[in-house]
Assembly symmetry: C2
């Protein structure tokens, strides 16, 4: 099928660029002797997760229980659910624990630990649990400098209803960086905080099996991972405008775009209307800490065009200079580079896989919670 035969808006995955991105991260992990447990929340498909894993590194990371169920049904056997568990999700987590070779959950609250113990005791189940650690992002996780955090790790390690897997963090503050030099600083902080906390626990006699870190920016730039067992980047399969802007990739590496139709020309306002709006792109502002102007995505091969406004189904493009409208006839097609590919991908019920400008496959992602 030709690209032009797709209904628009449509989510496109460029297969050669995807494969190159996947291989590069595999090579990085292998060269530095860490396990790669990719976060599949970016794409939520079985097909890409199979590319990202291997017989000797089968583990994946998910962000919802719906993803965990989907991947269990797709034959994956080693899954970390990397969002802090709560009591209302323990029954489903128990079911996944019973039906997978490895199903890991995480927590950072003493109250949640109590709920896990109570559930485990009542249902005769042992959960595999990571302690979530805050390495500086301040979104979630225990403060590794506090005695209570060490105590919670010890309680997990001592519990009869918990198999304590280790410690886990996400350096999400790498997304606030301006360039790779700043990202490297965060990567070193992420590594050092975790290695130091793990050492402290081990000195205290707490068996900490796995030290798990990861974000796409830090995973792409970390100078070394001494003391780290596993990395969990996710976005790198597609990348996006944000990652290109902060230097995680080149714009030409981005493997996911949204195909859209040029709907109308408005020369009086130097504007073009496209059929990709907030429901096709998300309203993520991208790396707005680097930009003077709001943009809801880039335009593939047309960096001069600015997607400055979106509403539910409408997108409006302008430019600093008069748009050469004859280059973009009404009814012709553009590809939008998403600001944040995870959020954009999540809006589509199917992905069209493209090679040499032909649609060669269609992948169906997991959805919901």
């Amino acid at each position: 099928m030709k690209l032009e035969e797709l209904k628009t808006p449509a989510f496109l995955v460029d297969l050669p660029r995807l494969k190159a991105n996947v291989q590069k991260m595999k090579d990085r992990a292998r060269n530095q002797s860490v396990s790669l447990r990719p976060h599949v929340k970016t794409h939520k498909t079985a097909e890409i997760a199979r590319m990202q894993t291997a017989e000797d590194s089968p583990g994946i990371t998910v962000s919802t229980l719906a993803e965990a169920r989907f991947y269990q049904k797709s034959g994956f056997e080693d899954i970390t659910f990397a969002f802090p568990i709560t009591a209302n999700k323990l029954a489903e987590a128990a079911d996944l624990t019973a039906n997978l070779k490895f199903f890991n959950i995480l927590l950072d609250q003493p109250q949640t630990f109590s709920a896990v113990e109570t559930f485990g005791r009542e249902h005769g189940i042992t959960f595999n649990v990571f302690l979530k650690v805050d390495c500086g992002y301040h979104r979630a996780g225990v403060d590794p400098s506090k005695r209570e955090s060490v105590q919670l790790a010890r309680d997990l390690a001592d519990s009869d209803f918990v198999h304590f897997k280790g410690i886990l963090t996400h350096a999400g503050h790498s997304y606030h960086c301006h360039n790779p030099v700043e990202v490297i600083e965060i990567a070193e902080q992420e590594r050092d905080v975790m290695v130091q906390f793990a050492s402290g626990l081990r000195e205290d006699g707490v068996v900490c099996r796995t030290v798990s870190i990861g974000s796409t920016p830090t995973a792409g730039h970390a100078p070394d991972w001494h003391g780290i067992d596993e990395i969990r980047p996710g976005n790198y399969v597609f990348f996006d405008k944000f990652q290109a802007d902060i230097g995680s990739c080149q714009t030409g590496d981005v493997a996911a775009t949204v195909l859209t139709t040029v709907v109308a020309h408005y020369p009086d306002h130097n504007q073009m209307l496209i059929d990709a709006g907030a429901l096709a792109l998300s309203k993520d502002l991208g790396a707005d800490h680097l930009e003077d102007e709001i943009a809801y995505g880039g335009v593939w091969e047309h960096p001069d065009l600015k997607l400055f406004s979106i509403s539910q189904e409408h997108g409006l493009i302008t430019a600093n200079n008069p748009i050469a409208f004859q280059e973009f006839p009404v009814g012709s097609f553009l590809q939008i580079i998403p600001n944040h590919s995870c959020l954009t991908a999540a809006l589509f019920p199917e992905y069209h896989v493209v090679e040499n400008n032909r649609v060669i496959d269609c992948w169906i992602p997991a959805r919901g919670w």
Copy 2:
């Protein structure tokens, strides 16, 4: 089922508040003798569309062809597809035209008119077409002050492959207002521009059957609709934080919320983590022209709590004063008032219908394009 038995995040529709919002707009339209052709893009369900319509006013407005197909299958017979058509969507539009009592499309480009005529000639079909008019929003539509716009209307009226329905606009710039006084100004502009353009066309001998306008803010505040045939508001069924902020409703009228679990307390940062992030709420910033601080939604019954940060599945709440954490135990529930209910609703595969704190029904919306 109790609310607390739902998996979180979950999309809740409060049935009594929904019914009140639906009835109020019906009454307004009836009292002012205009047809109400509700825009169903906000909810995309058959159940709410049935409440909004009646035997003597069966028409609805949709934003995608997927919605049009869904409503056709659900028994609706009079549908306006209120996004400008393009050549690649004409085959599907032709199919809907053949299978519905009335299926209306719209356009504002001479090139698109040519494509419609060519398709109509080749396939022996007559499309019902509105001319889209720009009443000041500058997102889409012809400039009513221009001779070319009158000419396009005349061409539509004269075409053998078009049944010219009339003119249609959307005063989306009402969303930039600060209060009802400003909204009334936009409502008067929306009405006056359209009535004047219709008069001009009629004086020129162009039969303009329907003058169609509508946005939730202007529909709620317009002082009168003399010369207007039909209004197309959509958001009013649910309302949201944005509409409350600009004065379209009270916060207590909002009929859609997202149920979320309190996942963790971080007293050192005066923060709470919830399991409603960007994939449950959208990253719409709401009425940010009225706010000093970014907020990704309100917290039902807790206006002091601020949802200041969201990522894919994480939401972070803070407050100006120290949070009374004991009021929000880990594992307890909150309801988030969406900034923009249309975008939030679109993220959920199902809506849970609530009355007296019980879940009494589950509605499945249309999705995709």
